[in-house]
Amino acid sequence: MKIAVMATCLGDAMFPQAVKATVRLLHRLGHEVVFPEGQTCCGQMHVNTGYLREAVPLVRHHVEVFEPVADGGWDAVVAPSGSCTGCVRHQHAVVARRAGDEVLAERAEAVAARTYELSELLVDVLGVTDVGAHYPHRVTYHPTCHSLRMLRVADKPLRLLRAVRGLELVELPDAEVCCGFGGTFAVKNGETSTAMLADKMRNVLGTRAEVCTAGDSSCLMHIGGGLGRLRTGVRTVHLAEILASTEAGRTPAAAGTPGGVRDEPVEAQR
């Protein structure tokens, strides 16, 4: 299959390791991967903060960049993010319609119809649950709200994780309760967001997992930011990075962000 990666603005700028892992994983599974260079941002932050009008050019731009998937140029678009996929699937057409642009709305729907979150692509489209990964760590999985309730990915990520060799999966208590990220909510209602984060961290720490994983870098940035601030030593690792890890590959411990810390020497900066 020819699959285009939608890096998402956060994945591109802040968490490229999740994007790279997605590419590596799809290559390993034998697919052709393209990275549409014009891509920027799906506009979710604007939409969810109430800037629906301002989001229109972002939606238009996204549709223009990813339209080959609607015309048969690519077979699918994949994003390592439940919430950005959710925005494309459930909000783009709404934003366009609200602005009175029915043509854009229909184009957006055509793109959305072939845009998938990573676990959806793997399980539903590619039909795999065992991706041949190896990750010898104790891991707990946080189902992010948008993958759970906007996309209804259900247990697909768990099925993928259960097939990873060496991985010890521990159930997260109250897993389905929001971690408190919520996009600009984390800033506009920072204290309530923190109160929610505290309970999520309590549950993560209670599992004694080394790693907390999820399908959204944004929620992981929030959970990891809290775990790191408190120096808990628990890492947050994107699902894609775990699925991309192999015995032969790079050391799994280096994958991911140890609680909000960039795991590479600053000297590496050019």
């Binding site: 390791q17 260079e37 109430g50 909510f185 590959g249």
Partner: protein, 514 residues
């Protein structure tokens, strides 16, 4: 009706020009009733989050009710079908609201009831006060009613020298505690048993000083306190859960029997009801009488549901008045997406599952309608007057986690309404705020790959900020709201885009570092 370029129908602000009558959909009148608090949500939440007792009480109570609800909902294999029917029935009601109201009026009148209409909270209160005065009574017993809380009826009656006795246990706790309701089903959910005991000991005349904090004993104290009132009251005021258009039947769903007392024993019954509480036919109650109890108290059925149609000779009140309230509902109805908020049957399931509500409680929302539905309904009823309107902050009081939609028995897409109300909030700004400018600039950058890539270069600065630790622990306002509690990782040395440009996606092994 005209439509602005935003797709929002023209709606009048609540009678700011002094005239009530333009025939246009109208928001509730500013300064009337209890739909707007005085502080923004984040400021109110700041205080509530630090209230240990509140946090503990809410955590416990919402945890219990969530478990009960989940249990009884799972028992029904047709729950989703019931939700779909409930949602569609309400959509049908909204599409025919004026006609159905006229039908209701006709049927209630034919059965000996009297129907009154109220444009706003003040008018509803005045109508009720006048009706009470006409009976010669200076007190009323009340069944828990959100509509009367919304209009501030008790205070309005007090100004006329009429005492209102709340008879629902939780409302009684709130009234005796000189407090405000914080939940639409259990208004005293923020109080625990020992606080309730203290309130009773302090405020309840003739209460046994040896009263313990056992809920049973507390309930018995309320029974003893109200018994005489019930048996002697001449006038009752109630709300309604449902009104049936095709029969003129009213329906009240309750637990304690205080509702039955009020609906049965006094000679006069006055029911105040929002215009949206209709169902088309009596048999449609078969849907809502299944959805409501399981969603609200988590029971298969609540202890008592009463229905009555006008006046029944020899049984119950011989004088019945129904007051139909607009108070902003017409403005909500005029909004194609927003009118779904009027489908709400006030079950409170969305409050009970909301992680934000659970942590801050109902008072932080300012309005009598708290929680997810309140965060959309309150600003929709009042309109948003500008960035400083406390109700402008309500649609942001959510992480958009979507738990409310899954719990809602009539499938109101609350996350979508929250986003729509955020848009209304943004569009109410007379001139751009700092946030407006920031997001507009971001939109400009993000809609162009060139500008976006250039902006990403600026992230290198972040690496300097992060220093050797690889983390950023302090950022300037407003991002300080983030770094107050959370680190931010240093930006990567290379963005995904740069990595792709350099490697074409093929040197993953080496590309990881540097």
């Amino acid at each position: 009706m005209s439509t602005t370029d935003l797709g929002m129908p023209a709606v009048r602000g609540g009678a700011r020009d002094g005239s009530r009558d333009t025939g246009l959909p109208t928001h509730s009148v500013a300064g009337q009733g209890n739909l707007r608090g005085t502080t923004s949500f984040p400021r109110a939440a700041h205080e509530k989050l630090a209230d240990t007792q509140l946090r503990r009480n809410l955590g416990k109570a919402t945890g219990i009710i969530r478990g009960k609800r989940a249990g009884v909902v799972a028992e029904l294999d047709d729950w989703e079908e019931l939700r779909l029917a409930g949602s569609a029935l309400k959509a049908d009601v909204m599409a025919r609201l004026p006609e159905l109201l006229e039908q209701l009026e006709e049927n209630v009148t034919a059965r000996g009831g009297h129907v009154h209409w109220a444009r706003d909270a003040a008018e509803a209160n005045a109508v009720v006060a006048e009706l009470v005065r006409a009976t010669g009574s200076d007190e009323v017993v009340k069944v828990k009613s959100m509509a009367t809380q919304e209009t501030g009826l008790n205070e309005a009656l007090a100004e006329q020298g009429i005492t209102a006795w709340e008879t629902d246990l939780a409302e009684l706790i709130v009234q005796l505690g000189h407090d405000a309701p914080s939940h639409i089903l259990v208004p005293a959910i923020h109080r625990n048993r020992s606080e309730i005991r203290e309130i009773f000991l302090r405020e309840m005349p003739g209460v046994d000083p040896a009263l313990s904090d056992d809920p049973r004993e507390l309930a018995m104290a309320a029974r003893a306190h109200l018994r005489r009132k019930f048996l002697t009251a001449k006038v009752a005021v109630s709300g309604a859960n449902f009104a049936v258009a095709d029969t003129g039947t009213l329906c009240v769903v309750e637990s304690e029997g205080n509702g039955r007392m009020c609906l049965t024993l006094p000679g006069t019954l006055i029911t105040l009801m929002g215009v949206e509480k209709l169902v088309p036919t009596f048999s449609d109650l078969e849907v809502f009488l299944q959805l409501l109890p399981r969603s609200s108290t988590g029971e298969r059925m609540n202890p008592y549901t009463s229905t009555w149609t006008g006046v029944t000779p020899g049984d119950g009140p011989q004088e019945f008045h129904l007051v139909l309230l607009d108070n902003g509902r017409s403005a909500v109805l005029a909004d194609e997406d927003g009118r779904a908020a009027l489908h709400c049957i006030r079950c409170s399931a969305c409050l009970n599952v909301c992680p934000v509500y659970e942590r801050v409680g109902g008072h932080a929302y300012g309005s009598v309608y708290p929680g997810p539905i309140g965060a959309v309904l309150s600003p929709m009823l009042t309109g948003i007057s500008g960035p400083d309107d406390p109700n402008a902050s309500l649609p942001y009081a959510s992480s958009l986690c979507g738990a409310c939609f899954d719990a809602c028995p009539v499938r109101i897409d609350i996350p979508n309404l929250l986003v729509q109300q955020r848009a209304a909030s943004v569009e109410s700004h007379p001139r751009p705020t700092a946030q407006d400018l920031a997001l507009r600039a971001a939109a400009l950058v993000m809609s162009s790959p060139g500008r976006f890539a250039a902006a990403e270069k600026g992230l290198a600065l972040g690496r300097l900020l992060a220093g050797r630790e690889g983390r950023i622990s302090s950022l300037p306002w407003p991002l300080s709201h983030w770094t107050d509690s959370r680190d931010v990782p240093a930006p990567p040395a290379e963005t995904a885009r740069q990595w792709w440009a350099r490697t074409g996606g093929h040197d993953e092994q080496d590309g990881e570092r540097s």
